[in-house]
């Protein structure tokens, strides 16, 4: 039951991603990517991950706002068509090669519904499930892992977000914009 439901949701996501890539209008591409994100949220909910479903749905809304903000003033239709033939051929070859790699490596995984943590002896997840509530007091085991057992990862993640925000602000700052827009020589040099 869950398997067929997940398969139908994944087919929906693949169709919406193909629509997002090969449509001519930017706005419909962005709406299709929103459909992909919300489908992913439902898939997480079916797979028993409500934390991920909440996070995905909220993040998808914010990224839709960002993408629409970028494209709202530009002409909606793309000017140039798609790519040249050689580029498509090269891309097709790369995709074919990667698909062979996937086909070889996916045979090593257990069948669907057979968690990897049951296969591995002394898997960390078994320890986390067994002692998570007792040693941290948090009954949501995902939060217990995120903020207690593996808090170092969260610290590094906060650093990554800080750096990304810093980079975005430095790119869009008033002073940096004015220098590069007014000075004709620096434009050629930086490129």
């Amino acid at each position: 039951m869950t398997e067929s439901l997940l398969i139908s949701i994944l087919v929906f996501m693949i169709i919406s991603s193909v629509v997002a890539l090969f449509t001519d209008e930017l706005i419909s591409a962005i709406i299709a990517i929103g459909a992909l994100g919300f489908g992913g949220s439902i898939a997480y909910l079916i797979m028993g991950a409500p934390d991920l479903a909440i996070t995905q749905i909220v993040v998808e809304v914010v990224s839709l706002v960002l993408l629409i903000r970028v494209t709202i003033g530009v002409g909606l239709r793309l000017t140039a068509g798609c790519c040249s033939k050689t580029r498509t051929a090269v891309a097709g070859a790369v995709v074919l090669l990667t698909s062979f790699v996937f086909a070889f490596s996916l045979r090593l995984f257990p069948a669907f519904g057979d968690a990897v943590m049951g296969r591995v002896q002394y898997a960390p997840s078994i320890f986390y499930i067994e002692y998570g509530l007792h040693s941290t007091g948090a009954s949501n085991l995902v939060t217990a892992i995120l903020l207690d057992f593996r808090a170092y990862d969260t610290l590094g993640e906060a650093t990554v977000i800080f750096t990304a925000v810093l980079g975005g602000i430095a790119l869009l700052r008033k002073r940096g914009r004015n220098i590069s827009a007014g000075d004709e020589v620096s434009r050629g040099d930086t490129a």
Partner: protein, 119 residues
């Protein structure tokens, strides 16, 4: 079957990343690849008839130990989704800056304008 479908989603994103010439389309392809990888990681930890890894009054600790989904990939994917949002914001900042300088989102036209400026 499900693993194959997630890898197909990844390959669609990869094809778009290699062929598209519009910066917004490239950002969209990156986000497709991201969601494919996240789905695959959560799928690896799924157990049949699994429960969400949250202990409440109705699901006792012993039942969770028997039936719970793997919580470890979920914890990693939560950070991955939020990092994806901030990386997308950074990419959009770069795209806006390029649009501000060259007046287009198309990479070929940007290259053409650069060549014109050099000569």
């Amino acid at each position: 079957m499900l693993y194959t479908l997630t890898s197909v989603l990844f390959l669609v994103g990869l094809f778009g990343l290699l062929t598209q010439r519009n910066i917004i389309k490239i950002i969209i392809s990156v986000s497709i690849i991201e969601s494919a990888v996240n789905l695959f990681l959560v799928l690896v930890g799924y157990r049949k008839e699994g429960l969400a890894p949250i202990i409440t009054r109705h699901t006792s600790h012993g039942k969770i130990m028997e039936l719970s989904v793997d919580p470890f990939p979920q914890a990693m994917v939560v950070t991955s989704i939020v990092i994806g949002l901030s990386v997308m914001a950074l990419m959009i900042a770069i795209a806006l800056r390029l649009y501000h300088i060259y007046g287009t989102y198309n990479i070929d036209e940007i290259k053409k304008k650069q060549e014109e400026e050099k000569t």
